[in-house]
Symmetry: C2
Subunit: 656 residues, 2 copies
Amino acid sequence: MVNETQHSCSASSSSRSDGGSSSGSESSKDNSRCSTPVLDADRHERLREKMRRRQDAGDKWFSLEFFPPRTANAAVNLISRRVLQGRRGEVFDHMGAGGPLFIDVTWHPAGDPGSDKETSSMIIAYTAVNYCGLETILHMTCCNQSKDDITGHLQKAKRLGLKNIMALRGDPSGEEWEEEVDGFNYAVDLVKHIRNEFDDYFDICVAGYPKGHPEAESYEADLRHLKEKVYAGADFIITQLFFRPETFLKFMKDCQAIGITCPIIPGIFPIQGYHSLRQLVKLSKLEVPQEIKDVIEPIKDNDAAIRNYGVELAVSMCRELLDSGMVHGLHFYTLNREVATTEVLKRLGMWNEDPRRPLPWAVSAHPKRRVEDVRPIFWASRPKSYIYRTQEWDDFPNGRWGNSSSPAFGELKDYYLFYLKSKSPREELLKMWGEELTSEESVFEVFTCYITGEPNKNGYKVTCMPWNDDPLATETNLLKDQLEKVNRRGILTINSQPNINGKPSTDPIVGWGPSGGYVFQKAYLEFFTSSEIVRALLKVLRKYELRVNYHIVNVKGENITNAPDLQPNAVTWGIFPGREIIQPTVVDPVSFLSWKDEAFALWIEQWAKLYEEESPSRMIIQYIHDNYYLVNLVDNDFPLENCLWQVVEDTFELLN
Amino acid sequence: MVNETQHSCSASSSSRSDGGSSSGSESSKDNSRCSTPVLDADRHERLREKMRRRQDAGDKWFSLEFFPPRTANAAVNLISRRVLQGRRGEVFDHMGAGGPLFIDVTWHPAGDPGSDKETSSMIIAYTAVNYCGLETILHMTCCNQSKDDITGHLQKAKRLGLKNIMALRGDPSGEEWEEEVDGFNYAVDLVKHIRNEFDDYFDICVAGYPKGHPEAESYEADLRHLKEKVYAGADFIITQLFFRPETFLKFMKDCQAIGITCPIIPGIFPIQGYHSLRQLVKLSKLEVPQEIKDVIEPIKDNDAAIRNYGVELAVSMCRELLDSGMVHGLHFYTLNREVATTEVLKRLGMWNEDPRRPLPWAVSAHPKRRVEDVRPIFWASRPKSYIYRTQEWDDFPNGRWGNSSSPAFGELKDYYLFYLKSKSPREELLKMWGEELTSEESVFEVFTCYITGEPNKNGYKVTCMPWNDDPLATETNLLKDQLEKVNRRGILTINSQPNINGKPSTDPIVGWGPSGGYVFQKAYLEFFTSSEIVRALLKVLRKYELRVNYHIVNVKGENITNAPDLQPNAVTWGIFPGREIIQPTVVDPVSFLSWKDEAFALWIEQWAKLYEEESPSRMIIQYIHDNYYLVNLVDNDFPLENCLWQVVEDTFELLN
C-alpha cells in the first residue's frame, strides 16, 4: 500500500532538528518509553553531577563519613531499626534524614573489608545504598594488595550497585614498606587502575592533605602527588581533617595554583571526646594546635563539656570556610555518632530535615532501582524486606505496576539478616507482647495497645509489632479511633491508609512529591481475622460489591477475591505540574500472595518463637497462624467517606 | 554475599502455586510489565473469543457487511468525514457507533481486491480496522487464483493488521469451470491453505447456504461440504440471505445433526428497494417467495414504501430467530446503506449507541495498537492523522507516554490520502471560510463563527475548520463564551478542554472508561496568534510561572517553553475501581514540534490553496502561516477555577 512503502523508514525527526528549543534542558538519555525520569532528577545523576548542580545552584551541602562497625550488633545499630523503650539506633536512617549529599564508608583491611560479612566495608556500603537509599562512596585501599584482589573488589562493588570509590593508598602493613614494582604503591596507581579497568563507571574521590601527607618529602611534593591523582582520573578531593580554617583555605589556593580544578571538600572533625581526639591525631600524625589543647586538657574528663566545645569550634570553622566563598560542601568525620555532627549542621542551618518525601515510600539508591516508582502497598512498613525480596529483579516497575506474575518475589527465609531482623531483644519483645498469652483475646490486646500507644497490663508500651518495627505512622494516626475499636474485637490490623481526595503534595502528613501537586489515596485496610469473622464479612461485602475490592487468604493460600482479571488497583497517586501521573502504591493480587507468606511467617518467626515449644502462649500464636485469614479491603470511592469502617461495623452487627 | 548466592535463582512462584484463586480469571498472557490490559478486555480478544463471550453472557449482537466502493469518492463517503451543510457521510463511523461485533468487507475479484488502491477490499478493510477501530473480516475468494497469489494476499492482510478471513470459493470466471488438480477449487481448499500456512493466526469464517448452494448436487451434499469446511478449521459460519426464518432454523438443526457445532450466524437482508432486491436475487440464484412478491410488485416504484416493508419484514424475521433461542448474532447485508439496517436494529433494541467511550479518543483496532492508551492531546480532532503518522511504530505507549523522542512521527505530506483529507468540496469550503479575505480580522471572523455556530456574513455556517472536520465538540461547548471572546480578538483556538476535578466516568459529556470511576482534566488551550500577542502573553505568563505550563512555537520551530526536562504533562486521567490509573492524553513537548508542522501546514494545504496564487486572500493566510505562533497552555491547578482565561484577559489588558 502506498503509505507503507513511502514511510517505511520515516523515522525522520524533523520535529527535533528544526528549531532550537529554548527550554535549555536536554532530553533524557534513556530511550525506553517506560523509564522516563519523572519525579526526581536526583535519582538519575551520578555523584559528580549532583555535586556540580548543587554548586551551580549555590546550595551548600554536606557529607558524612562512617566506619564499618566491629560487631554485628553495632552494624544493626548503624543500619537497622531498633526500638527500645526510649532509645533508638538506625544512625543511617536518622542522619540520612538530614539530607547528606553522600555518605562514605571506610575500608578496614583488617576487617575483611571486601567480604560478605555483615560488618565488612563492602556490605555496609551496599546496605547504605540499597536498603537506606543513601548515595555512598566506598573507600578502597590498594597497598599490599594484588591487582586481582583489587579488581575483584571493584567488580563486586559494581555488581552490588556501588558507583563511587574513594581511592586510597592505605597504611602499609609491617614496619618497613618498600615500593613494589608494577604493584599498587600509591593511590594514583589505584585511580589509574580503576579508569583502565572500569572506564568511567565509577566516580572517584581521592584524599588531600591540607598540611601535606606526613610521609611526603614536602608539602609541595604532596601537592604534586595530589595533582597526579586528579589528572589520573579522580573527580574530586576530600581532605584530611585540620584544625584551623586558614589551613584549608591556603591548601585550596595552593591546589588551584598548580592546576587542580576539581571540587575539594574540607574534612571536618567535630571533637567529641578527649580519647577519640587523641587516637585520631595519633593515627593521622597530626598535631593539635596549642590553643585547642589549652581548652581541652582542663576538661578532659567532662565529655559533655568537650563535646560542646568541639561543636562550637567546628561551627565557627565551618562558618569561616563557607563565608570564604571557596567552599560549597563540608565532609564530616562522624565516628559513627550522631549527636555532635547533627548539632553542628543544625547550627549551620544545613541540616535539612525535609519532611517532604519524593515518593510515599523510601526509595533505594541502587542504580537498578533508579526508575522504580511503583510498589505494592503490603510492604509499606517493611521496605527493607521488599527490597530484599526483589533484589534479583532486573527491571523495576515504572509508571505502572502491570502484570506482576513475572518475575517472582524471592522467598523470605533469612530472618537473621541484620538488615531484615527486628532488633529488639527477646526480653523487650516479651514485655511488649506478653510474657504469657492466655487466649486469642490477649493477642487482640497487644494489637490494641500498639494502636493506642497506651501501656499494656504490665505497664509497657507496645512500640513495635512483628509487621511493623516503628510506632504507628502519623498518617495511620488519622484512623486511630476506628483502628482501636476494631482491633479490640479481633480485626487485627497491620496496614491501613485513609482516603485522600486531592490534598496538596506539601501536606505534612500525607504529602509527597514535588510541590504544587495534589495527592490522592483510596482507603485501605489490611488485617488478620478469624474464619468466623471472615464468613460474616463475605456476606456483608456482597452489599459493597461494586465499591470495595477485597482479597482474603489463609496461610494455605485459599484465596477469595473480587478483583477483575487479577489486575492491580492503584491506591496512592499524585498529579504534579508538568508531569505524568505518578501512582506509587498498588494493591496487586499476585504480590499479595507473596506478601501473605511473609505476613503469616512473621507470627511464627517473630512472635511464637519467643515462647517455649508446646507452651500455651506459643500454641495460641500457632493457632492464629494456622486458622486466621489475612484480609485486605480497598474502598474505590475515594471522594466519598471511607466505607471500610461501615463494612467492619456491619460485619460485627451480623455476628451479634 | 550470602543472599546473592542463595537467591540467585529465586524465581520460585510460591505465590501462584499454593492455593487456588477463586477469582476465576486467568492472568494476562502478556508478561511484559508495561502492557497489561487495563481498561478493555475486548481489545485483547480475538473475534471468536468475543463471540463466545457474548454468547455465554446471553448478549445478542450484530454484524454488518459492506462492499468496497467503486470510486474514490464513494470510499470517502464510507470512511472519512464529510461535512456539508446538513449532509454527512462516514458510514463506518456512524454504523460503528451502534456497536457491531464486527464488519466484513467483500472481495471483488474484478476490483483488484488485494491492491493498494483506495477502493480495494484490502485497503477498505485495513482502513476500517486501523482508522475506524472496527473489528473486521476480509472476504477472500480462491477460485481461479494461484497458491502464490492467495498466500501473498494473506501475508499482506496479516501485515496490515487484519485478523479475520471469510474464506470463499468465489464465482468462477468464464462459462465452463473445471476443477484444477492441486488448485483451489472450493472454499475448503482455502480454509486448509490458511491453516497450513498461517496456523491459528486468522479467525476463519465460511459461508453457509440455508437452501443449499445453487451448484451443489443436493442440500445434503452441500451440508457435507459445509462440515468439511468447519472440520478443516473454520471458526464460524455466516449464511447466505434467506426470506423465511424457518429456512434458517431448519438449516441450523440440520447442521447440528451432522456434527457442526460452531456458531452459525444468519445473514439478514432488509429489502431496501425493488432493483437491489432483483439484482441480489439474480446473483445469489435465490427465489423470492410469492408472499413477498405479492407485496412488492404493486409498490415497486415507491422506494420508501418498499423500504418500510423491508424493515418490517426483517424485524419480524429477526425477532423469530432470536426468540428461537438458537440465534445469538445477526449478520446484516447493508448494501453500504445506513438507514434500513439501523432502523431494524433500533427496533430490535440491538442498536447500542453507548455514549460511553473506552478512552477519550477513538481507539484503533490494529493488533499493534491493542495496548495503546496514551496519546498527545494535539491530534484530538485529527485521530486518523495521528494513526497515520505513527503507523510505523512497533510499540505504542501504554501506562505512560514516557520519552517520545524515539520513535519519531512520520511526516504528513500525503494530504490526498482518502482517510486523511477533508472531504468537503472547494466550493463548500469557500462559502464557509470566505470567498475573499480582506484582512487578518476576516480570518478571526471565520474562527469566531465556527465557535458560535452562527452563520457568517454570507449566511453560511462554519461547520469545519482545517484542524477540525467536525462541528465543535460537546465538551468544548462548555467553553463557548470564552472561546468566542478570544477568537474575536485574534487568539485563534484550535483545541481546548475545560478542567475537570473528579466527575463520574459515566458523565455524558466528559466521561469515559468503565463505570464507577472518576475522570479528571487539566484545562488546556491551544491557539494560533500573532507575535505581538505572544510578546505580551510571555510577560503575563511570568505571573503564572508555577501554575501554567506553556509551549510557544512558530513555523520555523523557534520554541519557547517552561516545561521541565521536556517531560510530558498528563492532562486527562481517570481513576477506576480495581485498576491502575489511566492517563490517556498528555501534552508532550517533543510531539508538539511534530504537531506544529502539521498544524501550520494545514493553513496552506487546506485553506490558502483554495485561492489563486498571489491573490490577496492567499497572501493573508500565507502571512499568518509565516508569522503567527502556535501556543499551548496547561493550567496545572485542576481543582481551582481555570486560570487560562485570566491569562488571556491579562494579555489583552497589557496590550491596551
